[in-house]
Symmetry: D2
Subunit: 338 residues, 4 copies
């Protein structure tokens, strides 16, 4: 039985609390820490079987009984708390991104060296039934050599402008999931990034120095071309599709809906919209990623997404940012060289 | 080059005039006859390359240059004109049904005996790309032994009450196409019919002694069970689907639409309705059935739908009528025995 | 917190144990009883948080702490244990069917009278996201007045011949779910049943006195015609679809698959098969039905499927059996009159 | 009645001969010219009602009876014959591209000035039922302001290496249709092109100096971003899809197939592949484009695709070529400035 501490009891922290208590039989949550912990959240956590709640995450770091820490706090705390937890000998599950700053991720990597501790990054989409099936189809060679990879990723609504300002920009906040997906589907890293971006959804996003719409072209190391299209707002819901085209065929996944109901009437033939947002679409994937993390600890296996899998999409995001600003293709090696 | 005379220049007659002039290179229309021929129709026929128009169909029957006759006049004239044409040594393409009266169809059969003339009945759906593909799939054994055959056939709107009164009833007018399709898909005849019917669309149809909604169960000679569902009115258009389930799988066809356009918005994910009615859906099939008829004449082959294929669905229609009236399963042999 | 005892720890009993422990926060399982309880099952139940296991279901009936009983034992025990539990003052959730014998169901109804106890029957499909959405669409009037209801229900593989012999026949064992669904979708009862059935899957089923393939036509009280098609074996998996056609449109649901992956290659465009069988397809629905039962107890509401909802499909099943044997339409009132 | 001469009786010339004789009632083909005219082709043309065949296209240019010329000869002859025909006072329908050389297209434009003659370029896809419906949906504002336009265009098999060498390169030969489609769907011109291309299908294509796989990003004048993905070989057939995403929704079109047949068996749920290639997919569109051309002549209307619509995609193709060679985004204005 793995004893877990969860740092951060916001939206995603609560998702993990629910997953562990209802779906992960070989883990138990000892402590939940959140600096802004409300009484309501504390009560709810206890009703879910959490032993202890606190405002001070150090109580988790310093607790010798706790084997693993889930870092669900704000992005700027991910790398420092990762290092603290590693130094205290704890396995770490860290929400994405580890950091916006490559140097800080390098420090986490250094801290991990030789410890034998497990480190997993929260790219939940790899655990989604559709993306998982698509990746397996490609990996099994069913479509031959991948040549074109297409990822559509559109949110139902933009975040608040306050969030946009601290988000690191769309490429590090939103596209980072798609960068991970491109690596997952291609089975290799990207060499180069080109971005065509625009501010079409809300002028305030542009005023905050960010974009809200983009088409990102990637040259992958295996020769395939990947293309991601993003928008911060799709009125029909969370649009999460992908397609891999290869020498022997194409595999494609479409969106999930709440039901398969289709109504035919004088207006047309109408099915349901995609599930609204990530909590609806990926709830099951969140459970599976934590299950995989706990299993890696229990069975001494590698985590499915290690610290380098956390680093690479950040490099791609920084290259995308540079491409968008300098309006030219940017090599990943340029970012690593800096 | 086969010389053709067309009797009846109504809706379906005009469809055949268009097909022959634009799609059947080895046929030419010499004469079109219609007792109610308007000047406008005559002009149009001539613009399509028809040599001659007349109000008297005898000019076709008696014309020694004419090889084949298409009978597109009202149902009550189908069998007598068939016999006249056969006696004049002409091949006959006859719109469905040959007659509502089995005895009259038997007279046509007798007239044909020993003549070597071709006779084809206008069950156009057999030439539709979807139904054809479904039948081939089944005939090639791709779904194993057929066990359940399902046919959905719903019109977008009911005919006029005046038409209902002379139509012979829904089973002989509308379901007759589905009876033919059940035979086509099963590759055998029906043994027994059971009807559950209702008058749900328009009370005037009930007052005219007919039904407008029905589920018809058929026991086929090969042991398969077929089920047809009909309605005279589907607000979303002409619904023409089928499914054959067998020991090794299932094959199903869905409706055709004007385009594949799908719109996703806040209301849902909406595709186009099925094509409106038979002229839209089956235009291509009408061309193919006439091509097949002309080819059978030119090459001395059997027609794909002979006079017995015209008789069988009438027997099934009469059994359905009896089942509906007597509220019990009715064997086809009961009808033949009468 | 509702205290629950579960009688029967076979396949379906284990499903309910899992649902309650992981998904129903306001219920706790005190005791699980099964006459053939293995040590392995007992250990597993305890690992799931079950307090006590026993071979004697009387320990549940006689335990004053237990509020509610789930009857998941063999069909012949459903009605007697229901009565025992009711007499002991316990709410009852009973797997379908309550009994094959109408008189025995009537005894359960009599036992319930005046007790105020909740009684729910396990027609799990009503809680499936697709069927639920379809029913809501119809109930909200979105397709107008229902005219034709079509239910396809095919199992991936037939049960063992030993099971077939004690199953009560396909209509009471398998079609009973579809009879419930016809009532659910139509919003009313059936008046009459007609069956066309066959033994096409396995001769041994016929030798055991049962059928394995059937098309069942129902006349519903609201004038709609319903049609169910069943087969004990579909090589492509568990086929669970439905369609309701009405005066203002049609609503239809299709199967769920493990993923939306579609592969296009030289052979065609191939998607996944339907989910394999009921445990895959309806796992979520099993959780929801128990949640609803516990909620009804806690909040003093009606259960969504009461004892009469358990009786009606049995009447329909018996009528179907009679129709199949006597080869004629059978009224439900004939069965009730017996 | 418009009298037409057709120059070039290869594959596409024969398509237009067939369309005009079977589908365009207000046009008649007087002469077909082809330097390599075989007796077989001449016989076929005559059987289709063509009055005259010749090896010398001058017989068309110099025939005062001929109103309009269809130029279906090799690409290098398009612009010179266009000019000859215009000078002889004839309306011109010219297959794409008018020329690979912008200066030569400018000469055609100059020749047309002040003549009042109609000039139409053969971008047939605009007349396809799916693309037409998509464009109308967008133009009617049903998806709000277009933000992302996606076009997938993949051929079933690459052309011969001999053809590749004279094709002008993939961007001017194949992508040119997609460049036209981007303009059609966006309702405006492109400003800038960026290409990520590769040689993945056949090394011989690379040796011939061309690419066979590409993702092309376009910045459109209205702010939308368009992205085209191309491949010279898709094993599953001709892949022609598009999607327009906007502020109020998304509209998408998928491929057409020969039938809607779907087979469910132990291997999966399999539908038909897309139609094999352009002759299958766009046969109807070829008829419609000629109908539109003849109508423009008869009614004195503008042609739906004039000489500038022929120029713009060539500019885009040249910019794409430059982008591919120089590996940077290229503005259309750079090409025009040269």
């Amino acid at each position: 039985m793995v004893k877990v501490g969860i740092i951060g009891a916001g939206r995603i922290g609560r998702v993990h609390i629910t997953s562990i208590t209802t779906r992960v039989p070989n883990a138990v949550i000892k402590t939940v820490a959140d600096p802004f912990l409300t009484e309501e959240t504390a009560d709810w956590a206890k009703s879910m079987g959490v032993e202890k709640t606190t405002k001070d995450y150090k109580e988790i770091i310093e607790d010798p009984e706790i084997d693993a820490v889930l870092i669900c706090s704000s992005t700027d705390t991910h790398s420092p708390i990762s290092i603290e937890a590693i130094k205290a000998g704890k396995h770490v599950f860290c929400e994405k991104p580890i950091d916006h700053d490559v140097d800080k991720i390098m420090e986490v990597i250094k801290a991990l060296e030789g410890t034998g501790l497990k480190y997993q990054v929260g790219f939940n989409r790899r655990f989604d039934h559709n993306f998982q099936s698509l990746q397996e189809t490609v990996a099994q060679g069913k479509i031959g050599t991948p040549q074109i990879i297409k990822i559509t990723s559109r949110d139902p609504e933009p975040p608040s402008i306050d969030y946009v300002k601290v988000s690191g920009g769309m490429f590090l906040d939103m596209t980072i999931h798609d960068f991970d997906m491109a690596r997952f589907l291609a089975g290799c890293d990207a060499e180069e990034v080109y971005v065509q971006s625009a501010n079409l959804v809300d002028p305030a996003i542009g005023e905050a120095g960010d974009v809200d719409t983009a088409v990102i072209t990637l040259k992958m190391e295996n020769g395939a071309i990947a293309v991601i299209d993003n928008c911060r707002k799709a009125v029909y819901g969370y649009d999460q599709r992908a397609e891999v085209f290869g020498s022997e065929g194409m595999a494609a996944i479409s969106n999930d809906s709440q039901s398969t109901t289709v109504i035919s009437n004088a207006q047309g033939v109408t099915g349901e919209k995609p599930m609204f947002f990530f909590l609806e679409r990926y709830m099951d994937a969140y459970g599976k990623e934590i299950t995989a993390f706990i299993d890696a600890i229990e069975k001494g296996k590698d985590t499915p997404l290690n610290v380098y899998d956390g680093l690479k999409p950040v490099l791609m995001g920084l290259a995308a940012k540079k491409s968008s600003q300098e309006h030219r293709p940017v090599k990943i090696s340029e970012i690593m060289g800096e």
